[in-house]
């Protein structure tokens, strides 16, 4: 094989005072898949973007070497970079809903790349767009090419985005979290698609926080933390015998152990009977019945659009079912007066995926909590003490009281959201994707917190998530939703080890798995162990 497609040495990127990337060196060779793994803020995306000269506005990029196709890219002007982008290096971003122009048909996005780099004669652009869409597994490509992103499902959008990135047959495709926003089954399809491109000889630089995804297709893995590469080596070795404690921690977090406290399961606190909720012709809930017992965690899994969130809203009494009813501690929402409803609302609280969106950005933590505390009728002077108590309960310092949500980390925000939910001393908390927006290490902490609170306060959780691993970790029982119906419900280990329906089996098979971990020397990191892949040339 010839020399590397891209090669960087001593790459550093700084934004004003913050150094996002520090002294990073690596190379990507033709036909190989290199993965950069790390949590948010580790500098992995900035590193990737530096390779196409788009590190971002105000970025100061320094490098001892930055070569694309053997040419020194440090001296590239705008015109030379544009010739590389899309033509030699394709780039795929995380969420195709926002990464494709929402106002233009997807076919035109693909055509744009083809026209720009004059890949095919003008007259053949249309035919080539259809061919590309077909290649990436989009059914009815002629129709889809004329549709806009909002008319396509998440999986189809991501396929179209990949088609636009590989339209000019670049030698290297950089994929920045290409499957993060997708359901597991769709994620598996996209990974297969990328693997197929790799077999065709395209090199891949995969950016991901998910070790399971990486394990599926990467040849080599670089682990980044705080802007540095802390470990690198063949994927097999790094994933099975991590040397750096950080890698070991990521590995640990990706392979969750159960966080189910030993609690007494009591009588049902939520009882749903024959729930039906239709939106036009689509049934988001279709004859759904279940019960949630005191102290129990009931997991709800399913792909997007399966009715998970609708179910949560029905339980919260925010939606009125077309048929059936939800009983809270034996009393149906339907029969309550507005006054009674308010009282019962205190007993059933909710924690959402994105706490930033559920906080008033102008409120500080104190006001957020005191507003919720006020509902329970506590006199004003006692509210501050209660707010401090709540913060302690969720493991936060009272010093955060005067912070606004924007100045909290993702984990802190979610803890405040939990504290707010606890303010009214609820019996039931509906957790709607409570950790999906968090880094894996933070995810583990928040899950531990939820487990502890459950044991201490005897809470019941309705735990909604598309992340099957997390659901398995925290739930006692699990309900599998598909098209608004519960297709399977039962003890969590039973469902995960011996699923009774094909749908559950397919869902479980799609979870990216890590290779078995081998003994390894956790916690010891020696720089000499940073083995570079031997099969470069």
């Amino acid at each position: 094989m010839s020399g590397p497609l891209v090669e960087v040495a001593g790459l550093s990127v700084a934004f004003d005072a913050t150094r996002a990337v520090r002294e990073v060196s690596f190379a990507v060779h033709p036909g190989e898949c290199v993965a950069i793994v790390g949590e948010s803020g580790s500098g992995k995306s900035v590193t990737a973007r530096s390779l196409i000269g788009l590190a971002g506005e105000g970025a100061a990029v320094r490098a001892a070497a930055l070569r694309v196709d053997g040419r020194d890219a440090r001296a590239f002007g705008d015109r030379q970079w544009r010739a590389v982008r899309g033509a030699r290096i394709g780039f795929v971003l995380q969420d195709a809903l926002v990464s494709l122009d929402p106002l233009r048909p997807v076919g035109r996005e693909i055509a744009e790349a083809l026209r720009l780099h004059r890949t095919v004669p003008r007259t053949e652009v249309g035919a080539r767009v259809v061919e590309l869409l077909r290649d990436v597994g989009v059914p009815e490509p002629e129709l889809r090419a004329r549709q806009r992103p909002h008319e396509l499902s998440g999986g189809l959008r991501q396929r179209a985005l990949i088609a636009s990135a590989i339209a000019c047959r670049p030698a290297l495709l950089i994929a920045d979290e290409p499957t993060t926003a997708l359901d597991v089954t769709v994620q598996a399809q996209i990974l297969d698609l990328l693997a197929a491109r790799k077999r065709d000889g395209m090199a891949l630089l995969l950016i991901s926080h998910d070790l399971g995804v990486v394990a599926r297709i990467a040849d080599r893995v670089l682990v980044m933390k705080d802007g540095r590469i802390v470990e690198e080596g063949p994927a097999e070795r790094v994933l099975t015998r991590p040397e750096h404690p950080y890698t070991a921690m990521l590995r640990e977090a990706a392979d969750p152990r159960p966080a189910r406290p030993a609690v007494r399961i009591g009588a049902p606190v939520v009882w749903a009977r024959g729930l039906v909720k239709a939106y036009g012709a689509r049934r988001a809930a279709d004859d759904v019945s279940f019960e949630l017992r005191e102290g129990e965690t009931l997991g709800v899994v399913g792909e997007s659009g399966s009715g998970k969130t609708t179910l949560g809203r029905l339980v919260l009494g925010l939606l009125r079912p077309d048929e059936g009813e939800v009983l809270i501690e034996g009393r149906p929402w339907r029969d309550m007066s507005a006054r009674e409803r308010r009282a019962v609302r205190r007993r059933v609280q909710v924690v959402y995926q994105d706490p930033l969106g559920s906080f008033d950005p102008r409120f500080d933590v104190r006001r957020i909590l005191e507003e919720a505390i006020a509902v329970s009728g506590l006199p004003r002077p006692a509210r501050r003490d209660r707010a401090v108590e709540l913060l302690e309960q969720v493991g936060l310092d009272a010093g955060l009281l005067d912070r606004r949500p924007a100045r909290l980390s993702g984990g802190q925000r979610q803890r405040v959201a939990i504290a707010r939910a606890l303010a009214t001393r609820p019996k039931v908390i509906v957790c709607d994707e409570p950790v999906s927006a968090l880094d894996v290490s933070v995810q583990a902490q928040v899950l531990d917190l939820l487990a502890r609170l459950r044991a201490e306060l005897g809470l019941s959780y309705l735990f909604i998530s598309h992340h099957l691993g997390v659901v398995r970790q925290v739930s006692d029982r699990v309900a599998v939703l598909k098209d608004g119906r519960i297709v399977e419900v039962g003890d969590v280990e039973q469902v995960f080890t011996a699923p009774r329906t094909d749908y559950t089996r397919r869902l479980l098979a799609a979870i990216p798995r890590l290779p078995e971990q081998q003994g390894g020397d956790h916690g010891t990191h020696h720089d000499g162990g940073r083995v570079r892949s031997a099969d470069h040339g």
Partner: protein
């Protein structure tokens, strides 16, 4: 009745239903405009008959005849009813002062006004698009400078701009005619005077929304595809920035009408603005009512066109109800 309602709400009638609702609300707007103008004219001091008579002395008998002729002795609700009835039939009546049919008077003045409004609008749109595309997302100096200029542009009253332009470019330099509506040169100064605040406002809005759009991930994707900065702005970001600008355009039309009154007076241009001004001063009820009706109709028409433009710019709205 029930079947009728079912047809009305069925999806097959989505388009005709939308058209009917739109027509209904448009008529409502016109009726509202006429009513408000009628009330305003009768609430301001001075009687219509006095305005009719003017400074001339007149015998009580002649005065009584005048009052009966114009129906001014009837109670206000009756006068109002007659007015709405006439307007509904499309009869705008006859001017008290000009002694010619209102429709004729309006017709002759509408042309020059539309010319001026169109020219000012085109100027404002072209200038603000250029400015916004050039300055969006640039360095702090460029942005600071341009937003400073825009602030000044929004703040300057139109009459002041008009007088300064007139003094410098017309009286001192003699480049443009000072009055009248003959030819393109006579259009330049009034159009600029009207366009200045509109341009400033529109530039601010366009730049803000362009900058929002330029921060979107799809712009990064487009750049990663190899698109140049200008192409990214023109092909991707601009369309997103146009949506809020369209919303503003509806309001701008209203501001335009107000500016016309002032500018037409200063440049002694014939037009709707001047016609209305004299009519209000002279309590020329039919002319005021006619002008109000025409302006309101134009306003409704402009907003219907804007609503259609929304669908062209953002096809996602087509599916929505």
């Amino acid at each position: 009745m029930k079947t009728l309602w079912r047809h009305w709400t069925s999806p097959r009638f989505r388009v005709p239903r939308a058209v009917l609702v739109r027509l209904g609300t448009s008529l409502l707007v016109l009726w509202g405009a006429v009513t408000v103008a009628f009330a305003a004219l009768h609430l301001t001091p001075g009687s219509v008959e006095q305005a009719l008579v003017g400074p001339n002395t007149i015998t009580p008998q002649a005065r009584a005849e005048l009052v009966t002729e114009y129906g001014l002795d009837e109670p206000l609700p009756v006068q109002y009813g007659r007015l709405v009835g006439r307007m509904a039939r499309g009869d705008l009546g006859e001017s008290y002062q000009l002694h010619q049919p209102v429709a004729e008077a309006l017709g002759s003045q509408l042309g020059p006004s539309l010319q001026l409004a169109g020219a000012a609008m085109a100027l404002a749109v072209a200038a603000s698009l250029t400015l916004a595309l050039l300055t969006a997302g640039r360095g702090r100096l460029v942005r600071g400078l341009s937003s400073g200029i825009e602030l000044v542009g929004v703040s300057i009253p139109t009459f002041w701009t008009a007088i300064v332009l007139l003094t410098v470019l017309s009286f001192q330099r003699g480049w443009f005619p000072a009055a009248g509506a003959d030819g393109v040169t006579a259009l330049v100064l009034p159009a600029v005077a009207v366009a200045v605040p509109l341009t400033a406002l529109l530039t601010q809005l366009l730049r803000d929304s362009l900058e929002l759009a330029l921060d979107e991930p799809f712009v990064l994707t487009a750049r990663a595809r190899g698109l140049s900065d200008l192409a990214v702005r023109l092909r991707h970001a601009l369309r997103h920035a146009l949506l809020p600008a369209l919303t503003l355009a509806g309001w701008m039309f209203g501001a335009l009408v107000g500016a016309l009154v002032v500018v037409e007076e200063i440049f002694a241009r014939p037009g709707l603005g001047r016609l209305v001004l004299t009519a209000v001063e002279g309590k020329d009820l039919p002319v005021v009512m006619g002008a109000v009706l025409v302006t309101a109709a134009l306003y409704v028409a402009v907003n219907i066109v804007l609503d259609l433009l929304y669908l062209v710019v953002d096809p996602r709205l087509r599916g929505a109800r």
